[in-house]
């Protein structure tokens, strides 16, 4: 077997095993009631997705996924759990057949739609024929940044990236307002109750 073929086989094997892990984790997230455990599992899910992104050569996407999915999101969910409860209340749901049918049909339509997409890494794909040559050939002279993803994000699409940053900033401010207001309120109401606390806890 040629080394190239072996490399393809091992890459495909890693892909399949990791995707299987993802499916198993997703089922476990739905089944497990302990919210701290579910948060841990979502972190694991993000880490494995990030590995898949790296395997597909989307390194910047993978870094974002690892930072946001495995880092920031887990911390936000933990903060939420700390303010609420650690156990999901078990509730008996009758099985909704209509929902299942809708989900299956939508999933089938999406899978059918992927059949029209160009193969992964296909050099004849429309995105590689029309846009990529322009950026790969002209962006070093026009922008002067060696990394083309960066020059597209920061210069060609600079306004768009600024909008994204504004959205993320607004979301962060909103979260801080929601989480911070509780702290302030507790501290104000806690000042009068401070003595009680100190009496209760030596």
């Amino acid at each position: 077997m040629a080394p190239g073929a072996g490399r393809c086989v091992i890459e495909a094997l890693i892909d399949i095993v990791l995707l299987t892990f993802l499916a198993i984790i997703a089922v476990a997230i739905v089944r497990i009631r302990n919210l701290l455990a579910v948060t841990m599992l979502t972190g694991i899910y993000s880490l494995i997705v990030a590995v898949l992104f790296v395997l597909m050569d989307a390194v910047d996407v993978a870094l974002t996924e690892a930072a946001v999915g495995a880092g920031l999101m887990v911390i936000l969910m933990l903060a939420t759990i700390a303010l609420t409860t650690r156990e999901e209340r078990p509730h008996r749901m009758r099985h909704n057949l209509l929902a299942l049918v809708v989900v299956v049909i939508t999933g089938a339509a999406l899978i059918y739609a992927t059949l029209d997409m160009p193969r992964f890494g296909d050099p004849e794909a429309p995105a590689h024929v029309h846009l990529s040559p322009r950026f790969t050939q002209d962006s070093p002279q026009e922008i002067g940044i060696p990394n083309m993803v960066t020059s597209v994000l920061a210069s060609y699409r600079g306004i768009d990236t600024l909008g994204e940053a504004v959205v993320v900033f607004a979301a962060a401010v909103g979260v801080l307002l929601v989480l911070g207001s509780g702290t302030v309120r507790r501290r104000k109401s806690g000042e009068s109750a401070d003595k009680d606390d100190k009496d209760a806890s030596p």
Binding site: G6, R7, I10, E11, L13, I14, V17, L18, F21, I24, I25, A28, I32, N34, L36, A37, T39, M40, L41, G43, I44, L47, I48, A50, V51, V54, L55, V59, A62, L63, A66, A67, A70, G71, V74, I75, L78, A79, I81, A82, L83, R86, T183, R186, R187, G190
Partner: protein, 98 residues
Amino acid sequence: MFIAVALAILVTLALALIRAFVGPTIHDRILAVNVVGTKTVLMIAVVGFIVGRPEFVDIAIVYALLNYIAIICVLRVFESGTLAVEPADEPEQGGGQG
């Protein structure tokens, strides 16, 4: 050689996942997340060598840092029950066992 290492990492990943699923205490699950994070780092590095792009090691190092921060936060929430700066403000929430 690298392929054998990759297969071994996949097996370790599976074992860590089993620990995350059945882990009776939250400690087991935190440990499982940490192990999965470490395996992620190793997997990226090994795959980098398999596909002939050793610069993936740099990415793996960034992953190691992220994993570290997340685990620290998880342990802090687990120990003090809150992410607030003064944990004494918050009444203790429940017991230790998750």
